[in-house]
Symmetry: C2
Subunit: 343 residues, 2 copies
DNA sequence: TTCTCTACTGTGAACGCTCACAGAAGCATG
DNA sequence: CATGCTTCTGTGAGCGTTCACAGTAGAGAA
């Protein structure tokens, strides 16, 4: 029983305790802690032994106070909160970022900027230097928080190409256009010629790019573009359902649909089913994301995989580089067609 | 242009700057910052004006260094990570906790303890005092991290009744048994008599309680208990699908199913559909959670709402109370039957 | 007047760490 | 022998707060 456990916590050992235990000075312990340059092997060893023995863990507040760094980063969501809950992609991204940061021993602070007040509070918190950088999820345009952070010089990496922030903001994104091309080519290769599309929100680069890829392939295949085959959605399940209904009205002969998100594709499947169309026999359906929703759908969705694990890893890499003084960077990652039952 | 914006960030104002600006001492500013007791109205006013003028934000690291508090809490997930992504409840809980904490200006640190290494690192981080308390999501038994934290005297609030941690750990949970009772009563009230159940994992209190509620109502209604009507799952969609298949084999005359989670209920619906049973005409299906999955299902699920917003709010309240020195507490919250299309 | 009490204010010390600097020791070079 | 260089080590200062304490001013009571 080394620990009296009556509610209060014992005062943890300090760098001083370690120094005394190892028979060296605070400075030497600090040097060992920070890379071990200019430390003799003997001292190195003694300090490490003392750290193990005392169970020392550095006090990050004391360190931050003098270094000016916080050694933590924020994960900021300025989207309308609903999307967060409905879209499984956020989970995957959040998890990936948390783990990638954990590998660097950097905690992730979750920040949800929903209301005006929350936005103000969070902006203050960040610009006050309480985090070293921010991972940003905000695909819609005109985001005042992001703009303010950028102006304040806070290292920032967005997920997906941000709008209206100039070229000074780093971002990591999947190759939306190329992914869309792959999917539409796949649908054409099945012999379908009346290929519809349910787009994402067209005020986001992702939405625009996926639509552009669709058009490109139709052009290159010599299949005419028919605007009755195009309806727009907002990535939500409900908008997919509504979109499919509109599509069936405008172009009843549709024999394939490229849907710009898996969640919308779920809605499309439901609407088609209700209309008595069989998938994939009557209408082939292709999604986008390869989110958990793709496997949960029935039939399971053929979709375009966004490499979320790589996206999150790259976001963290770019952010840390930027915190380290490097210039902003843009990273585009390749997508992959995943064939399942819906095509 | 008050801010030179060439990459570096300007040194933020300190309490000293505010004191000089307001013509008072650091101590007075500090008192205003911490509640304003024993401060004259005039000084109060002057300090607030100076804070607004300078844009001062307290340096939390300096504060933490001396107070010993970190004014932050961890949100710790020790579940197998997959559940996190599949189960929409986690999102709602995470969001609720983040927002409830934000109201107290307390940041939430997301901690995912998947691997052994991660567990060790996180345990060290927490016991070193880098967070004041922990919100714990870990319904399965034998969680070494939780036990270690409890032993170290870290304020801890679990979501759902934890197993094997003695009574010293606070928790907040929905009234699982009562919810199950409501649902089964509802199914009986529809005239169904062959009511099956797909349970949750039976090494968790939630799973056990929901099954107990089911049995209680059958007993009280004089409907005999038939073990062929009972299959067990693990809250995952896939296990619901498998469970329903087993149920149809063991008891083909089943006319209602109480499923212990919405996600499993999705799987049950899929399996029933495949087997040619109509819902709700042939088989009524009741879920549990009222997660987004309930509305996404087709037909939309009748389910038992867990009051996630209240659960998260209570978790935060209890945790902060405990950090403030109060004793651990258990909170049980009522559930609510939500009728939709599946019954 | 003198004392006590309350309301308020300022000051130095401390929290635990890193950083800059000074210096010691060892070795090669002039 | 002095000089310089490299490698290593210890020391004092200071990061921006809070806290304990000392002190002041004014009001009321003796």
């Amino acid at each position: 029983m080394t620990m009296s456990n009556t509610g209060g916590r014992r005062r943890p050992p300090t760098i001083h305790d370690v120094a005394r235990e190892a028979g060296v000075s605070r400075g030497t312990v600090s040097r060992v802690l920070n890379g071990g340059h200019y430390v003799s092997p003997a001292a190195q060893e003694a300090v490490n032994a003392a750290i193990r023995k005392t169970g020392y863990v550095v006090n990050r507040h004391a360190r931050s106070l003098i270094t000016g760094r916080s050694d933590s980063v924020g994960f900021l969501l300025t989207e309308p909160q609903e999307r967060f809950f409905e879209d499984p992609n956020f989970n995957v991204l959040l998890r990936g970022c948390t783990q990638a940061l954990a590998a660097h021993d950097i905690p992730l602070l979750l920040m949800l900027a929903g209301t005006r007040d929350e936005r103000r509070r969070i902006t203050r918190y960040i610009t006050a230097g309480h985090v070293d950088g921010v991972l940003l999820v905000s695909s819609h345009s005109g985001d005042p928080v992001a703009e303010e952070l950028r102006a304040a010089g806070v290292p920032l990496v967005a997920c997906g190409k941000p709008i209206g922030l100039g070229s000074k903001v780093s971002y990591v994104a999947a190759d939306d256009r190329d992914g869309a091309r792959d999917m539409v080519r796949h649908l054409l290769s099945l012999g379908r010629r009346r290929v519809g599309v349910v787009t994402g929100p067209l005020d986001t680069p992702g939405g625009v790019e996926r639509l552009a890829g669709y058009r490109e392939v139709l052009d290159e295949a010599g299949v005419g573009f028919d605007e009755r085959l195009v309806v727009s959605g907002d990535y939500s399940r409900a908008s997919g359902e509504a979109g499919a209904e509109r599509l069936l009205t405008q172009a009843p002969d549709v024999d394939a649909v490229f849907v710009a998100s898996d969640l919308m594709a779920q809605g499309v499947l439901a609407a088609l089913q209700r209309a008595g169309r069989r998938v994939p026999e009557d209408v082939a359906v292709g999604g986008f994301d390869d989110s958990p929703a793709a496997v949960a759908a029935s039939p399971e969705l053929t979709t375009i995989r966004q490499p979320w694990d790589r996206i999150s890893a790259e976001m963290v890499r770019v952010l840390l580089a930027q915190i380290g003084g490097e210039d902003p960077a843009a990273v585009i990652l390749p997508t992959e067609l995943v064939r399942r039952k819906s095509t």
